[in-house]
Symmetry: C2
Subunit: 409 residues, 2 copies
């Protein structure tokens, strides 16, 4: 008797994400931080900047000294000194005085604004004319204007972009506590699969999935470890699964698209210690025969062997799990998709979530999405595609010119 | 007398891209290929697949043997054998016969279609009933259907996504000729800048740009080399520029936002051997005081010191040069931007290209862009921003609800 096979819908599968634990944390140098996921909240330990800075070259003044100044009626100011970059000015500027200052310089005591050098005329070594009036705070970044002391400035679980890395630099974090990169074991299965350095004989095909899945893992911030190819041999697959589960944070088995091979994968997974089959079949296309098990707390996936199916399932199903295991909090990426107009109608079966490959092109300035239909064994369709569009489970199809969200591939 | 300072418009600056040479090539392992840039055209050395494969589990048949078959009037077929995975079947299947086959199996001689196992009934060891007719080619990937022999399948200068990496695996390319990653030297200048492990004294600020620019270089596929901080000291900056130009493929100087410091940078660059100042000021905002020189054939940039300006100039101006130096051919990225509706009107000066930081949010299902206005010395504006929008040089402003392209940050 075959094991009970009841497909799960995509939304229900994604609800299983919190059932897995994020990886541990580690300390990493700030130059390696961009693209990594922060593991602690970061507080501002001081005001940023710590002092009022000029944003223009010119003269630091008490703004009131310039009130009413104009081309016709300039204000005459006495030069009280010059601010040296990187130093705290020792002098004080009073009403009627001005101090030379460069962009980034610290405002001397008594000043609250900067008048641009272009709006002044130097009369002699100690006197300038100011042709404009400036308001208090003009051309100045106030102390604490960027960040005030003792606030949360970055949150555990957020991904560090270059600007967040820069912010950590501003607060002196030379080393940062991050989630370590999750390690993902990749095992290709099937008697027909040969290593890529072998010339395939009739009936054989090279191992594509180890490489395409490794690329996807790497793009997701993980570290792929390919374990190579296992033939349809129970003890060999059992042994390799056990090893991969011990050594990694997640395991991707690919191949075994045939019913027999799927049963074989299920049999191996069912007999692994501390292992539960969570999902056996998902109502998505392509990718229906996907298996998810939890083994020693780790997600073990049985992905379809067809190259397109394996890649689509990775993008649509595995990725949210991997991001969670990597420590990412949800809703981090506000820019996931481009929008495009579908350039033809697409039918879809209800009761199933479809992922359709699309090529994008511009027509009259608008982005158009052309569906690339083709068998899920054809990698050329993925090479031609720029992205995927999702047709939801209760949608019968999409009309031409529908605005669709495109998940980049 | 100050050097002549004539700002260049952005389009004219970008026309200088081809004046720089891409980096050399190197061989890299296929597991490291994703995200790298291919340096040679790749040809298909054989058909892919090399033989006709089943895409379903079932029976390989001569399609004609099933013509007219239905539930009411099944075709009776004799089982002539079973295709072993990864092997070339030794037998031939004639009309009226069928051969068991699994997904991915090689079609035996004489067959041109597969009938799904669900559409058959096994009567005994050697006889099945087929309830459907199949057309020639049904449930089969033909030899060469994915790629035909002797075609260009990938082009020099294209970036390798996971699917291109998979395609290289399919054709047995264990090592691939890529452009090496461009090395980008980063030098921070200014007497007010201190290393990030120092507590800034009044008047001082930590070196943010070395870290934010390193992150941007890394995200662009380059290798950042921070050279640290140089004070406003002619021999020191001259020496460090010379060293960086010798050791890297591109140099980013940041800091020196003051007029005096800009003049100083220009003076150093002008006196370097084999160096020509190409651009001294660009009509963009932020980022107007940007300098571009060509020194020993390499691009040397004088970026503004303000953190926002430096990052925006990197994204809008430096990146196209860096991608060219990295070997990327133009037009590679079809999914550069998301589209959003501007949630308020924005004014812009004509004669200048504006880059405005925006935060994205969803409202009634549509993506809205909220401009984040703020001084270019405030890194918090970059941390809040999801992207940049560009207001072109001849545009006076953008109305509320205008659909804008958002460059992700």
């Amino acid at each position: 008797m075959k094991p009970f096979f009841k497909v799960t819908d995509l939304a229900s599968v994604l609800k299983l994400v919190p059932g897995f634990e994020p990886v541990e944390t580690e300390s990493a140098g700030l130059l390696e931080a961009t693209g990594r996921i922060l593991a602690t909240d970061i507080f501002s330990e001081h005001d940023l900047p710590g002092f009022a800075r000029a944003t223009m070259d010119g003269f630091a003044v008490r703004a009131a000294s310039t009130f009413g100044a104009s081309e016709a009626n300039p204000a005459y100011l006495t030069v009280a000194g010059e601010v040296a970059m990187g130093e705290s000015p020792s002098f004080t500027v009073v009403t009627g005085q001005a101090s030379r200052i460069s962009t980034g310089g610290m405002l001397p005591k008594g000043t609250d604004a900067v008048i641009m050098v272009e709006h002044t005329e130097t009369l002699d070594d100690t006197t300038i004319e100011a042709y404009r009036s400036v308001a208090p705070g003009q051309h100045v970044i106030a102390a604490g204007e960027d960040f005030l002391k003792d606030k949360i400035i970055l949150t555990a679980g957020q991904i560090l972009r270059p600007q967040e890395t820069g912010l950590l630099a501003a607060f002196g974090h030379r080393d940062v506590t991050m989630y370590r990169r999750p390690i993902v074991g990749i095992i290709s299965t099937g008697d027909e699969i040969v290593p890529i350095n072998q010339l395939p004989q009739p009936g054989q095909i090279r191992d594509i999935n180890s490489y395409s899945l490794s690329g996807q893992v790497r793009n997701a911030g993980g570290v792929p470890i390919p374990y190579g190819i296992v033939a349809d041999d129970y003890p060999a697959l059992f042994e390799m699964c056990q090893q991969a589960i011990q050594q990694t944070d997640m395991v991707l088995l690919s191949g075994g698209s045939s019913v027999g091979m799927r049963d074989f994968t299920i049999e191996v997974l069912s007999n692994l210690p501390d292992t539960e089959i969570l999902v056996h079949g998902i109502s998505i296309s392509p990718g229906k025969p996907t298996i998810l098990a939890r083994s020693s707390g780790k997600a073990v996936w049985g992905l379809p062997g067809q190259v397109v199916s394996a890649m689509v399932v990775f993008k649509a199903v595995v990725l949210p799990f991997l991001e969670h295991v990597a420590g990412l909090i949800p809703g981090q990426r506000c820019l996931p998709t481009a929008s495009a107009r579908l350039d033809r109608s697409l039918a879809s079966a209800q009761g199933r979530t479809d992922f359709v490959r699309v090529r994008l092109y511009r027509k009259d300035g608008s982005l158009q999405a052309e569906p690339i239909l083709g068998k899920s064994g054809l990698i050329n369709t993925m090479v031609k595609a720029d992205g995927l569009i999702q047709i939801d489970i209760n949608t019968e199809g999409l009309d031409k010119d529908t605005l669709v969200a495109v998940i980049p591939l």
